[in-house]
């Protein structure tokens, strides 16, 4: 995973630099520094530094990734969070939050049905009151209306 992350950063650096060198001008027509000056500097340095760090990583090879259980816990939370991002678009801020909290707490905080249920309802209500009513801020609108 560690090496893969470095390789991904390197790929990003190369892509960034490619655009900087191909699409963005180094100088303007009036002879001033153009929009490509800073990106080229950043991109080239990023490639050199990432390669250097990657070589160090390949040489060391002693850093181990965590246990499967650690990864499983994070993966569950990340997956549920991404699911929440999708739900927000579909069902809006209020309904999506109730569903997300109910599902996530039932996975992470097993057996505490009453407490989980209360949190799943009270947190969205409080946030709705704070953001929508008190602060007049935006809550994500729903594409599909749920009967809530």
């Amino acid at each position: 995973m560690r090496i893969a992350f470095f390789v991904m950063l390197l790929a990003g650096g190369i892509f960034y630099s490619y655009i900087a060198f191909v699409d963005l001008d180094f100088m303007t027509r009036t002879g001033r520094l153009g929009p490509g000056f800073f990106p080229r500097l950043i991109g080239a340095t990023a490639i050199v530094m990432t390669l250097w760090a990657l070589v160090d990583e390949l040489r060391a090879r002693n850093a181990t990734d965590g246990a499967l259980r650690q990864w499983a816990d994070v993966a569950v939370l990340v997956a549920l969070s991404l699911g929440y991002a999708v739900l927000l678009r579909l069902f809006g801020g209020f309904a999506a939050t109730i569903v997300f909290l109910a599902v996530t707490l039932s996975v992470l905080n097993r057996g505490q049905y009453l407490k989980n249920g209360l949190i799943a309802v009270l947190v969205p209500v409080l946030l709705y009151l704070l953001l929508d009513r008190l602060l007049n801020a935006n809550m994500p609108p729903a594409l599909i209306t749920l009967p809530l």
Binding site: M49, D73, L80, S81, N109, L135
Partner: protein
């Protein structure tokens, strides 16, 4: 006399009922943020920044600043009662704070840390009051070359402080700079990395990235570390009545420690990149070397708790100086504060105090009041914070995800920014896991556009010659100070690490 009248004017602004309410909410929230292990002021500020949008700018900035310095107070409660620092700046407070609690002196330790934090914070604000106008005066002679060098100094000092993983710090900063180049180039009107998206024309917005990196990224990392499984651990019980208050000996023996810690902390706080963590470790180390009871350090010496506490609070005040007078944040937390100023259409810098006296002096005056409020809260609301510590991470985690998502959306009603926040959260987790620096990324994202604009203006003025940086006296001064800091800071970092090691050995 001018300073005094400005301060009185600031007090009249700060002491409106609604601003006092915002200040108290900020102080309370800051303490809660500090109490939650794994969440520092950067995360608290980033997550709660959107909540302030419906407020009046002065009240909002006062509240955010209170969250920032309030976190320093809260972080120590867990250091003393749990041996778990609420955030990195309170690591040094565990060295003697927890042994004091184990020795049955948790009550006096909690009161003394509150008093030390108050002294450090208040001395810091007094020094801001006196020095901020002077700094603003000096920085009026600065032009684009100096602003570029200051931005560079902020980044370099932060990277140097990262230590062994400096290469990863540089890469983190470069990612931040790269993100900062997205959007329309203001000088030529040419789009950069927008890929035809209307959402990207204005650039990548700072808030979703900061909330993702510090909020979700830290949360995912806490789950990876197993914080949701281990629970809070055993909280040391404290005597709420008879032996709660410190003895006269505690006050007398630490009075000079408070003075030294405050001054040292403030000076370190002013240096970009150094911050409250280094300040607290340095203060601990200094106090240990000066003390007659140095063998007691790490075993429950009151001065060993008071020194880092005064220093980290004074440092958080010190960090406000470059932010207010130069517009250059020295840390991730002050970068988020800068973003808050910019959101309100305010541009901190040399003319900030002159052009916005009510806001600048209102903020400074509010810091005096905030420290007083925090002193009271941190002594009398300890039972409440103990209850908060007991809330398990597995319950807190999903609520934090919700606050991050709804908070991000509330800023611009943008789903793209909300998705960007989730993406930044995942990237932030891997960065944290593999030793990268989310703080360097955020700082570079804020400083990048400023640095690019300043560099291009500089080279336009000099017709492409880099010699301009050594031809101007202010530039030469900044280069000199940067070189001195680059040489000095690694030594300070080693002093901090050594003192941490010594205390751990003594404690074990």
């Amino acid at each position: 006399m001018d300073i005094f009248s400005d301060l009185v004017m600031g007090l009249t602004v700060a002491v409106s009922p609604i601003n006092i309410v915002y200040l108290l909410i900020g102080a309370m929230v800051g303490m809660i943020v500090g109490v939650i292990p794994g969440f520092g002021p950067s995360a608290g500020l980033a997550i709660l920044l959107p909540v302030t949008f419906g407020m009046d700018p002065i009240g909002a900035i006062m509240m955010l600043a209170a969250i920032y310095y309030g976190a320093m107070y809260g972080g120590t409660i867990t250091s003393i009662l749990l041996n778990t620092p609420g955030e990195s700046a309170t690591v040094a407070s565990t060295f003697d704070g927890f042994p004091l609690a184990k020795n049955g002196r948790a009550g006096p330790a909690l009161v003394m840390q509150a008093a030390a934090s108050f002294v450090g914070g208040t001395v810091g604000v007094i020094l801001i009051t006196v020095l901020a106008p002077l700094f603003a005066q000096v920085s009026r002679s600065f032009g684009p070359p100096e602003y570029f060098l200051l931005a560079l100094m902020g980044m370099l000092t932060l990277i140097v402080m990262i230590g062994a993983h400096w290469k990863l710090g540089v890469i983190s900063a470069l990612i931040g700079f790269a993100l900062g180049t997205v959007g329309v180039d203001l000088e030529t009107g040419q789009g950069r990395y927008t890929f035809g998206s209307a959402e990207l024309i204005g650039g990548i917005y700072f808030i979703p990235i900061a909330i993702g990196l510090f909020g979700l990224g830290e949360l995912f990392y806490a789950f990876y570390s197993g914080l949701h499984r281990t629970g809070t651990g055993t909280i040391v019980q404290y005597d709420k009545e008879e032996r709660f208050w410190p003895t006269a000996q505690d006050w007398i023996s630490t009075r000079m420690t408070m003075v030294r810690g405050s001054i040292l902390g403030f000076v370190v706080g002013v240096i970009p990149g150094a911050g409250a963590t280094i300040a607290s470790l340095m203060a601990y180390s200094t106090e240990r070397s000066l003390s007659k009871n140095r063998d007691n350090f790490g075993k429950g010496e009151m001065a060993g708790l008071v020194a880092p506490e005064t220093a980290n609070n004074a440092a958080s005040s010190g960090a406000m100086i470059p932010l207010l007078t130069l517009g250059i944040p020295g840390s991730a937390s002050t970068a988020v504060l800068l973003a808050a100023f910019l959101l309100w259409g305010l541009r901190p810098g040399p003319l900030f105090m002159e052009q916005n006296p009510e806001l600048a002096w209102g903020l400074i005056a509010s810091m005096y009041l905030g420290n007083m409020a925090l002193l009271a809260i941190s002594i009398f609301a300890i039972p409440l914070f103990v209850q908060i510590i007991k809330v398990p991470y597995r319950v807190l985690g999903p609520c934090i995800v919700v606050i991050c998502a709804l908070g991000t959306f509330s800023v611009h009603a943008s789903f793209v920014e909300t998705y960007l926040m989730f993406a930044a959260g995942i990237v932030g987790f891997f960065m944290r896991l593999y030793g990268f620096s989310p703080a360097a990324l955020v700082l570079a994202l804020v400083l990048g556009p400023l640095a690019e604009e300043a560099l291009r203006q500089t080279l336009t003025i000099s017709r492409g010659s880099f010699m301009i940086f050594v031809e101007r006296t202010p530039s030469l001064w900044i280069i000199g100070i940067t070189i001195a800091l680059l040489l000095l800071l690694p030594m300070l970092g080693r002093v901090g690490n050594t003192s941490a090691g010594v205390a751990e050995k003594a404690g074990s």
